[in-house]
Amino acid sequence: MKKPTNFESIGLYIHYPFCVRKCIYCDFASFTLDRVAESKYFSYLKKEVDLFLDKFPDIVKFSLETLYIGGGTPSLVSVDEFVDFIHFLKDRFDFSKLKEFTIEGNPESISKDKFLVFKELGVNRVSIGAQSFNDVTLKLLGRVHEAKTIEEKFHLLRVLGFSNINIDLMFALPNEDFEMQTYSIKKAIALNPEHISFYSLMLERGTPLYRARHYYNFVDDSVWLKEYFLGKKIFTQNGFVHYEISNFAKPGFFSLHNLKYWESFPYIGFGVSAGSFLNNRRSVNVMNLKSYFAKLDKGELPISFTKRLNGKALKSDYLFMKFRLLEGVSLTDYYKKFGSFLESDFAVELEKLKKSKLIKQTKNKLTLTALGLRFVNVVLKEFI
C-alpha cells in the first residue's frame, strides 16, 4: 500500500478492552481476557481502520505524532497479534514523525520479553497502573497486583531502557486514611518516574463499588483536599510540574498524546469506546464488543455518537478542555484559532469567574486560581 504524504500531525488511540478481571471502580469498556475474542478483536480493529481510511481519505494528509495503546490492560496483549497490528498500522500511517508511543500496563503483566518486543516496535513510554502502594487497598479495589510488584516491574522497565514512565496513582480511596495515602505518594515519588497521573477515585454509577458504597468509608471533602494538595506539594517539590488537574510531569515529559485532548488538536481512536476529534467533528465508538462487531459486519463505522461542532460549540469545547491545563488559556492562541476575541465571546462568563476568584488573568493568559483548581467544574460549566 502506498504511504500517504503528510502535512499535519495527529494522535492515534487504540483501545485494548481486555483485563484479567475488572476492578470494582472501573466504568471503562473492559472485558475478561479471552485469546479467541482478542484475535477476533484485532481482525475487527483492522476492519475499522480500513473502513475509516476509506471514508476519510483526507486522513492521508496527517502524520502520526503520538500513538497511545490504552485499555483495558494492554500489557496482557498477545505479542504476535500486537506486532502484526502495529505493522498493519505502519503500512497505513506515516510513523516517521512519531514522537510518543505509549502503552498502558498493569505491573502483573509487564514482562521482560514482551516489553523488549514493544521497545523494538517503537514504544517509548509506559504507563503503569499502580493506583496504590497499600496491598489491602489493591486487594479491595480488585487489582491483580501487589505493591512490591509495582517496584519490581518499574525497575525492570528501567533496565529495559524505558526512560519515560508514568505511574497512575489514586487518592480518596475507600477505607484509606490520610496516612495510607501519604505512604503511597512517597512510594511513588521514590521510584522517580517521569510522569505521575494522580486521580481521585470517582464513584461511578453502575460499578460494583458504587453498589457497595455503603460498606466502605470514603474520605470527606477536607481529607480529599488534604490528600490532593499533599500530592501536589510532594510532586512539585521533587521537580514535577503540575500541568493538568490530575497530571504531573518532569519538564519535557508532559503526555503529548493527552495534550492533544486538552488542546483540542485532532486525534483518531479505534476500538470499542474510543473517541475521535477530526475536522471539528467529535465521535465516540460503541461501548461493547457485540455491537462493535455487528456494526463492522454491516460495513458501518462502529460509532455510537457523532457531532460536528459549529462555531460556538467548538469554542466552548475548546475552553472546556483547555481550562483543565494549569498553564491556562492564551488569549492570542484563542484569537489565532477562532479569529475572534475570547474576552468578547465569553465576556459575561469570564467576568463572573474573575469576580468569584476562580480564574485570574495575567498578561494575555487566563488561568485557574488555587480556588479554581478545587472548583474546576464550576469554571468549566460556565463554558457549556
Partner: protein
C-alpha cells in the same frame, strides 16, 4: 310571586350536584333529555370565572301550574364563608344532596349549618340510589343523627336515572316558601355576585327582595352611595337573557355601565336613587383587603405579563388590590391585598393556572397601624416599608371577632388550638344539640397563615371559621429581617408578635438550612430584630467540585454530565451571590407561624 322558588343545592364534590342540575334543566325545557349539557365549569372558563357557576332561571310545570325555579349556585368551599352566606341569603331554601355511596361529608355539614343560620328550608335528599353498593339506610341514618332531620323529610332519588326527581321538584314547590316582599315598596336588591363584561361593564347579580328594577332606572348602591343608570336587566338562562323588569322575589342581573369593579361589592344592597329603601339588607361587610403579600414574577423580565394578568384577574375579582412594589431580591412586582388567606391562595392559583404566570409570593401579613413619635399614624402593609423602630411610638394590629362552628366533640381540640394563637375566648353558643359556636377575639395575623389547615385537622374537617374585623389593638409587633451572609433579604422580612418572632425565625432559618444547597462558600443565615440577632444557622460550604479525568473518549460524556448540573442551576434564584432553587424559595416562604422547633 308565590310561583317563584329560589334555592341552591348543597352537596359535597362528586355527590351529583351537576347531574341533578342537568335534570332540573331538562324539566325546565332548556335541554332535551340525554343531550350532553355543557359543563358549567367550561362556561365559566369562557368568562374567566371559576369560583362558581352562574344562577339559572327555569320554568317548570308542577301539577299543571307554571313555576319559576331559580337555582343559585354557591361557592363549593365553605371557607368562603361570607360569599356562601350571601348566596344563601338570596334563597329561601336548599336541597341537601348526599351521595348514598359516600355518606355525609364534613363540608356538607358545614354548609348545612350555614343554610340553617340563614333560615333556609332544607330538603334532605339521598342520591345515587340506583348504584349497586349504595348504603341508602345508613346514609338516611347519618342525615337523621348528624343533622337532625326526620325520616319522612328525606327523599331518595337518582339524579342519573331521573328516578324521583319529579318528587323532589314537588317537594321544592311544597316545602320551600315563595319569596316574601312587596313589589310596591322601594327597590331593595341583594348583590350576590358579579362579573365583568368588556362592553357592558360590571354585570351585577341580584336577588330582588322588594320593589322593581328596569332599564332607565337610576339605582344606588347603599354602601358607597354610588349611583348608576340601568342599561339592561335580565335573567340567566344558559346565557343572559334581557327582560323588561325584575320584580320582588326574582333573581337576575342588571348592567349599568359600571366601569370600576370596586364599586360593586358582594352583599351590598341596591336601591332606587329617587326612592331609597329605609335600610339595607343586613349582614353586609365592606370589602377591605385584610391580607397582603408581594407577588413577583419568577423571571424578572416577565413583569409586564404579570401586570396584565393581575389587571384581568381583578376585573372579575375586585376584592384584590394591586400596588406596584419592588424588591432588591425579587425585582419588580406587586403588593397585593386580599380579603383573606384563602382568597389569596385562590388568586395565586388562578394566576398560575389560568394565566400561566410563574410567580413567587412572599409571606402574607396583615396591615398594621403604626403610631410615630411625631404624632402621625401610618398604615403599614409591607415589612419592607416598616419605619425605623426608634421613630415608632406604638404599633397596633388588626383584631377580629371570630366564631368557629363545630360538633361539640371537638371543643377541646379547638380550645387548644386557640391557646396557641393569642386568642381571647368570649363565649360558646349551642344553636342546637349537634353543633356549638365558639366565639373569640384573635389578632388577624394569627389566623392568616395556616389557621384553616390547623382547624380542619383538629376537627377532622368539620370546623368552619367566620371572622369580622373589629378594630386595631396595641401589640408588641416586631419586624424580623432575614440576612444571608449579613445582607438583609427584603423579600424574606416579616412582621410578627414579639413572643412568636423567635420561633418563626428559627423555623424559617432551619428550613433555609435544609433547602438551600451547599455553596462554594459558607452561607451564614441570621434572623434579626433591628440590630439584635435572634437566631442563626450556617450552611457549610462544599469544598471541591472536580472532575478528575477527562480524556479523548469521554469529552462528550463528561460535558453532558456537567451540562445536566448546569441545567439545574438555571432554575435557581440568585440572592446576592447565593443560589437558591425555586422550590427552596417556595418552601422558605411557606413557613407556618405555628411550626415550632423542638
Amino acid at each position: 310571586m308565590d310561583k317563584i322558588r329560589n334555592f341552591s343545592i348543597i352537596a359535597h364534590i362528586d355527590h351529583g350536584k351537576s347531574t341533578l342540575s342537568d335534570r332540573f334543566l331538562e324539566h325546565g325545557g332548556l335541554v332535551v333529555k340525554g343531550e350532553q349539557v355543557l359543563d358549567s365549569m367550561e362556561l365559566e372558563k369562557d368568562r374567566g370565572i371559576t369560583i362558581r357557576a352562574h344562577p339559572i332561571t327555569l320554568n317548570i310545570k308542577v301539577n299543571g301550574i307554571d313555576y319559576v325555579f331559580n337555582l343559585i349556585d354557591t361557592p363549593g368551599h365553605v371557607d368562603f364563608f361570607y360569599e356562601v352566606s350571601r348566596s344563601l341569603k338570596a334563597c329561601e331554601g336548599a336541597v341537601l344532596l348526599v351521595d348514598a355511596t359516600q355518606g355525609v361529608e364534613a363540608q356538607t355539614i358545614a354548609n348545612t349549618y350555614l343554610a340553617l343560620e340563614n333560615d333556609l328550608v332544607i330538603i334532605p335528599v339521598v342520591n345515587k340510589i340506583d348504584v349497586k353498593d349504595a348504603d341508602i339506610e345508613g346514609t338516611i341514618n347519618e342525615i337523621k343523627n348528624i343533622l337532625g332531620f326526620k325520616d319522612e323529610d328525606i327523599l331518595k332519588i337518582s339524579a342519573k336515572t331521573g328516578e324521583n326527581v319529579d318528587k323532589l321538584i314537588e317537594a321544592i314547590v311544597d316545602r320551600i316558601p315563595p319569596p316574601s316582599g312587596s313589589e310596591d315598596a322601594p327597590l331593595k336588591a341583594l348583590v350576590f355576585d358579579s362579573h365583568f363584561d368588556t362592553y357592558k361593564g360590571v354585570i351585577v347579580y341580584v336577588r330582588v327582595k322588594d320593589g322593581t328594577i328596569k332599564k332607565g332606572d337610576r339605582i344606588k348602591f347603599m354602601s358607597n352611595e354610588k349611583e348608576f343608570e340601568v342599561e339592561e336587566v335580565g335573567i340567566f338562562r344558559f346565557k343572559m337573557e334581557p327582560i323588561e323588569e325584575l320584580t320582588a322575589g326574582m333573581v337576575g342581573y342588571f348592567a349599568a355601565l359600571i366601569r370600576d369593579p370596586l364599586d360593586v361589592q358582594i352583599g351590598d344592597t341596591v336601591t332606587n336613587a329617587f326612592r331609597v329603601a329605609d335600610a339595607p339588607i343586613s349582614g353586609f361587610r365592606k370589602n377591605v383587603p385584610m391580607v397582603f403579600a408581594g407577588i413577583f414574577p419568577l423571571n424578572t423580565n416577565e413583569f409586564e405579563d404579570l401586570k396584565k394578568s393581575l389587571e384581568k384577574l381583578r376585573l372579575n375579582d375586585p376584592a384584590i388590590t394591586i400596588e406596584p412594589d419592588t424588591s432588591e431580591a425579587l425585582g419588580f412586582g406587586f403588593r397585593c391585598g386580599f380579603s383573606g388567606l384563602l382568597h389569596m391562595e385562590i388568586a395565586i392559583e388562578r394566576l398560575k393556572i389560568e394565566f400561566g404566570q410563574d410567580i413567587i409570593a412572599t409571606v402574607p401579613n396583615v396591615e398594621y397601624e403604626v403610631v410615630l413619635r411625631d404624632g402621625r399614624t401610618v398604615p403599614i402593609d409591607n415589612p419592607a416599608k416598616f419605619e425605623d423602630p426608634s421613630k415608632i411610638l406604638e404599633i397596633r394590629e388588626p383584631i377580629v371577632d371570630a366564631s368557629i362552628m363545630v360538633p361539640p366533640d371537638f371543643i377541646g381540640n379547638v380550645m387548644e388550638l386557640l391557646n396557641t394563637r393569642r386568642a381571647t375566648y368570649k363565649d360558646m353558643l349551642y344553636p342546637e344539640e349537634k353543633r356549638v359556636v365558639i366565639r373569640f377575639e384573635v389578632p388577624l395575623q394569627e389566623i392568616i397563615t395556616d389557621f384553616f389547615d390547623a382547624l380542619k385537622s383538629v376537627t377532622r374537617g368539620y370546623g368552619t371559621l367566620d371572622y369580622e374585623f373589629i378594630g386595631f389593638k396595641k401589640a408588641d409587633i416586631v419586624k424580623v429581617d432575614i440576612l444571608i451572609n449579613k445582607k438583609p433579604v427584603d423579600a424574606l422580612s416579616f412582621m410578627a408578635h414579639e413572643d412568636k418572632a423567635y420561633y418563626v425565625a428559627r423555623s424559617m432559618l432551619e428550613k433555609m438550612r435544609k433547602v438551600i444547597p451547599r455553596q462554594m462558600f459558607e452561607v451564614n443565615l441570621q434572623a434579626a430584630i433591628g440590630s439584635k440577632i435572634i437566631a442563626k444557622e450556617r450552611i457549610v460550604p462544599y469544598r471541591k467540585d472536580v472532575l478528575a479525568k477527562c480524556y479523548g473518549g469521554d469529552v462528550t460524556r463528561k460535558k453532558k454530565l456537567l451540562e445536566k448540573q448546569k441545567e439545574g442551576k438555571k432554575k435557581m434564584k440568585m440572592i446576592g451571590n447565593v443560589e437558591i432553587p425555586q422550590e427552596a424559595f417556595f418552601s422558605i416562604l411557606s413557613v407556618k407561624s405555628s411550626e415550632k422547633t423542638d
